[in-house]
Symmetry: C2
């Protein structure tokens, strides 16, 4: 069924923002890092750089650019140094954090001109071993080494993996996450992103953890949420987090980062689906959802992969037709 | 990444039900009707009947069985009489509503043994013309003819299409929907299902309409919600409706009813994604999500279509392996 080319939520009517929602949400774009590192296709440096520049032009206020992990562990991001160098003209003026797993990664990031970094810790021992090759105590040592080696006043974002469940251990006690977040903020991190790495949170459990964090004195302004859409729950969980006062949400353009047709799909929340929802709720983001759709449609074509974002899937053709009409 | 075969939200921890959520949600299954009528593949009668019986066995309390539309208009459901007849042994004991567009459809449904019917009206003139071949006044005449021809005490479910937006007209005034719902309840309908036929609602706009309906004296217990996942918003919108007191939610096993990779995809909310979320929130449904996944995995294989439900995609292989292990 199709009619006019209505391509924005406002085309279908508007309503005042629910006062329980934040006025502004910072959409933290992870497609170029968390997205591409989980795609089987290797993407050339120039495509990555164009992807990042287009995301910034679409109004995204923070675009995680790459990760300085070991090239043999994540071949998709083996070009981190080249990507960062190619962005050197905009590093001073834009927020382009780069992930570093350890001091060696930090050194590479600094050499490449990084102005902001991100680090990650696991809420569970199993994933610390799997992902960082260390245990819960060891990952703190690694983190403290990175913090100690930082240039003065450099901003650090922290990720916590497996906040609502772990594929080896099952349940994760909220108190464990609370203690870890407190530790990370005490180290001076700018914000901590709570990761539902395997997508098993529910709105009720999101509220539970955020309420406990608030009770432990963690300001909601220091938190971000990072939901994966493995079970289709990412947007519902996002609304729950926004109601609790969180106003930074991680997402990935085009839903990059895990094919929906693979077992254990771990796709990220798609930026388009998030921005479409926030637009429809009267919550400002500064992001132009059409530009994000054009960008992820372009990248999907380059990568020969289907679009995963439902909003992008619904609108990409209509937007391309409108663009075509205006050009001719 | 994979670990144990954790296949239920409770495997990842539980938390008490949020008191703003209903204790029990009635999941109204529309896959055999709204789902199959929007699939290009024609499914044989015996497969449809097995599908419906398996859905009931999975604990679904209401399974819409078919639609008595004109066979030339919807060839996918041209076998409505045969499907209903093949279910005659369970029609007296199970809730198996059948959709009828007009008195001719009602006569066919009654001949085939229907015990409960459903009718639909459009909130907009454009869709009334497109879908029913009449205007807003004409669809009321058709509805009143059906109601007048009903056997005494037969239960009727009403659908309203395009409650939050229309592909031809764009915005739909909530007051129009409120008046139509009042009219339908005044005709004696058991419940009215509010359809977001093109998937453009947001949580804020869901709350707005439900608040207006409540203000107009419509009890939330007389309402159901029917969200399409075109823009990925269906579950977030569902949570908004539940918070307002709605406790009947329509969904489609496997997300049947619209391919996510087609333009203007109009896929239904997947039953698995809904039940997974409600399980994770401590809201009872009586539905066994594993049985629904087995059922839609089986049907997808028969129809040679990919699973659309993200929960089914994530779990189908693990559940099949566990089943295999138990058998051997």
């Amino acid at each position: 069924m199709s009619g006019q080319h209505f391509t924005e939520p406002a085309d279908y009517g508007t309503t005042p923002r629910d006062p329980s929602m934040p006025e502004f949400v910072t959409v933290y774009e992870v497609g170029a890092r968390d997205g591409l590192q989980n795609e089987s296709t290797l993407v050339p440096v120039d495509v990555k750089v164009e992807f990042i520049r287009r995301l910034l032009a679409a109004g995204l206020p923070a675009v995680e650019a790459t990760s300085f992990v070991h090239p043999l562990r994540v071949p998709q991001l083996a070009d981190a140094d080249e990507v960062a160098t190619a962005l050197s003209d905009i590093l001073p003026t834009h927020r382009l954090p780069m992930l570093v797993p350890n001091v060696r990664g930090l050194e590479r990031a600094l050499d490449a001109g990084a102005r902001e970094i991100a680090v990650f810790l696991s809420a569970t021992e199993s994933f610390a071993k799997e992902n960082l090759g260390t245990d819960l105590a060891g990952q703190r040592v690694m983190t403290e080494q990175v913090i100690a080696a930082l240039p003065a006043a450099m901003s650090v974002r922290g990720y916590v993996s497996m906040c609502w469940g772990d594929p080896w251990e099952g349940a994760v006690a909220p108190a464990v996450v609370v203690e870890l977040v407190r530790y990370m903020l005490d180290l001076g991190m700018r914000e901590v992103s709570l990761g539902d790495t395997i997508g098993v949170a529910s709105p009720t459990r999101v509220e539970e953890l955020l309420t406990m964090l608030g009770g432990a004195g963690v300001p909601m302004s220091a938190l971000a949420v990072h939901f994966h859409d493995t079970y289709g729950q990412a947007l519902a969980n996002t609304v729950a987090a926004l109601r609790c006062g969180v106003s930074i949400v991680d997402s990935s353009a085009g839903g990059l980062g895990g094919c929906p047709f693979a077992r254990s799909a771990t796709g990220n929340l798609a930026t388009e689906d998030l921005v479409w929802m926030l637009d429809g709720m009267g919550v400002r983001t500064g992001v132009d959802v059409h530009e994000v759709i054009r960008t992820s449609a372009w990248l999907s074509a380059v990568m020969k992969r289907p679009l995963v974002s439902r909003t992008a899937t619904a609108l990409a053709a209509a937007i391309a037709e409108d663009d075509d009409r205006r050009e001719h």
